[in-house]
Symmetry: C2
DNA sequence: TTGAAAGCGCTAACAA
DNA sequence: TTGTTAGCGCTTTCAA
């Protein structure tokens, strides 16, 4: 099956040299440093950790010795002593997809600034697997757990039989006492429609995903509020629900045009749908944005840029969601627990599809 | 900025109860279990780890005590003793994008089967950051490191000042003595063209990405080999290089049609390009697959399914790349080091765009 | 079959 | 200013 390119044998990096070996060079410990520097281990520890009560001379000697040996303090031993692993578990059920990754990146950034490492756990929507991971994380004495998901819809909280902080990012816990950080979808819907209104549109349709997504309901609600404040309502009588696909967008474009000859804007529940709508409108001889303006949702560049014309859209600030989640988790680890759901604001990104 | 939904305070899961606290319930240790079971810690250890030389009665007693206390062995302590952390570091420079994620998932799967946890490190193409991560991983005494990237192009090996196994997944190390696992792009190109030939096409063009990508050169080489074996050569005289975009695909379709009136197939270097080609052909009044058949590369569902018609494509088996990398790393950790580059075969996925 | 003791690598009292 | 000692939680001889 697999081909292997033939090449010289013998790895570079540290692959143990096959032979029974002479002096199997083992990682230097604090005692090695102490011995070399001619001091006690306690002195080495203090010197290297910047504790005071150490003479500059000694400190220099120790540092030199450590350097020479390539000494690197064993975090495992430190953790055992301090009772903190400086590690958090990241459980995701998005198989690290489009939504959870930006969240993760934001989180990882904030955590690593706090010197916290992240253990990866891909739950695959399998409760068994999730439980297994939780056991592992428990054994490794993580300082906290972050849970992430594909959908913003509330999910049952994870169950822990040991007391450590948990925060839900992107997916809300059904237990209101848990800390959750999610994008403010309703606000996103409002932003989109307000932008359309501001550019002079008045007959605005809404094409979106299945109504059993909370995000879908919230975005629609935000849109409708904004319209109501302007004394208007959705063209077509309400949101048009379908699948999260371009195909649905294309169909919906036809439906809307047929229903409302005066249609001059469409707000879509996703960029994918919006791209479909753009194609559908074009096919019907309708110009975007001249005849009909278009706003998507997600700011998924692959879609927004490939669409003709490029799409104005709503960005959920997912990295910020991740960052806030990490900060909340860190605070909780430090003892300042928070609870309840925090909404991260969305942001309008203007491109060709709504140019005036 | 952020809205906070008001809700009752007080977390569910383990957020330390604010107060100075009564008996701050601490995680039970092996001594707690020993005390409760009325035996020594050594006996507890042996009982729980299935060592023999323990009477069934005692074992049962210990197990019961452990259960009752919710005892979970401290992996940190075990690691300190065993010298193995059962953890590997995963360094990526793809910001966990489209390519490295499937690789990661495959790897994570294989590793977790081996009871190995994964520490996440997003290098962001920043060497400083990468070095920082390597220090962290060293301190945490990871058993090995896996390096992943966006491009298959060879990258300089990471530099370690301590001896642990490293494997490169998806991105090859420039040092041939390192172990690398990459998709067999050349094979992929061959598969694509052989499929087109098998379905009776003879005038086959190739539209692909920038030629400084090794994958681009390999895929083209594979395609040309297959053609040569059939006594043919690429329509258009050679590969058409451009950007990795739909836009380029649309342009290229026009170019190819103009150059070769008898064009009956196009093999594309990516699904994105292929989708553009599909649109370009359709716009030129050319039917896919009746007039011109189309094969993409990547099996990126978002593109293959949204394309009209859905695209036949080449799948790189990325999860398998990850799995093989993990297996190689595990073997290396166990002492069986490998070196050189392993090629993982690609696979043809047939859809509408090449129906006969 | 069980337990006492030593030690993995490190840090924090406390003494010197 | 430095060193001695104890101990984090666990496993493993070795002796009982």
């Amino acid at each position: 099956m697999a081909r292997r390119q033939d090449r010289a044998a013998g790895g570079t990096n540290g692959t143990p040299d096959g032979g029974k070996a002479l002096k199997r060079k083992t990682t230097p410990t604090i005692s090695d440093v102490a011995a070399l520097a001619g001091v006690s281990t306690a002195t080495v520890s203090k010197s290297l950790n910047g504790r005071d009560g150490i003479s500059p001379t000694t400190r220099a000697k120790v540092v030199a010795a450590a350097e020479q040996l390539g000494f690197r303090s064993n975090a495992l031993a430190q953790s055992l002593l301090s009772g903190r692993s400086y590690t958090v578990g990241l459980i995701t059920n998005d198989s690290f997809g489009r939504f959870s990754i930006p969240v993760m990146l934001g989180a990882e950034d904030a955590l690593q600034a706090g010197q916290i490492a992240v253990l990866l756990c891909d739950g695959r929507d399998d409760p068994i697997r999730e439980r297994h991971y939780i056991r592992t994380l428990a054994a490794r004495r993580v300082d906290g757990i972050m849970v992430t998901g594909r959908r913003a819809d509330p999910r049952p909280p994870i169950t822990l039989d040991f007391p450590i902080p948990v925060v839900y990012a992107m997916c809300e816990s059904t237990d209101p006492r848990d800390a959750s950080i999610v994008p403010d979808d309703e606000h996103g819907g409002t932003l989109a429609v307000e932008h359309l209104l501001a550019t002079g549109r008045t007959s605005i349709g809404h094409v979106t995903g299945p109504s059993d997504f909370r995000a879908v309901r919230l975005r629609a609600a935000g849109a409708e509020h904004a319209l109501r404040r302007a004394g208007l309502s959705l063209a077509g009588g309400g949101p048009l629900h379908g699948s999260w696909s371009e195909e649905w967008g294309r169909q919906a474009a036809t439906i809307l045009l047929r229903a409302r000859g005066d249609l001059d804007a469409v707000f879509c529940g996703s960029d994918q749908i919006a791209r479909g709508v753009a194609d559908g409108l074009r096919a019907a001889g309708c110009a975007v944005p001249d005849d009909v303006a278009l706003v998507g949702f997600d700011n998924w560049t692959v879609m927004t840029e490939a669409s003709r014309p490029p799409l104005t859209t709503i960005d959920m600030n997912l990295p910020l969601v991740g960052r806030r989640a990490a900060e909340t988790l860190l605070a909780s680890i430090e003892g300042t627990a928070t609870s309840g759901t925090e909404l991260v604001p969305c942001q309008l990104v203007v491109r060709e599809s709504t140019r005036v």
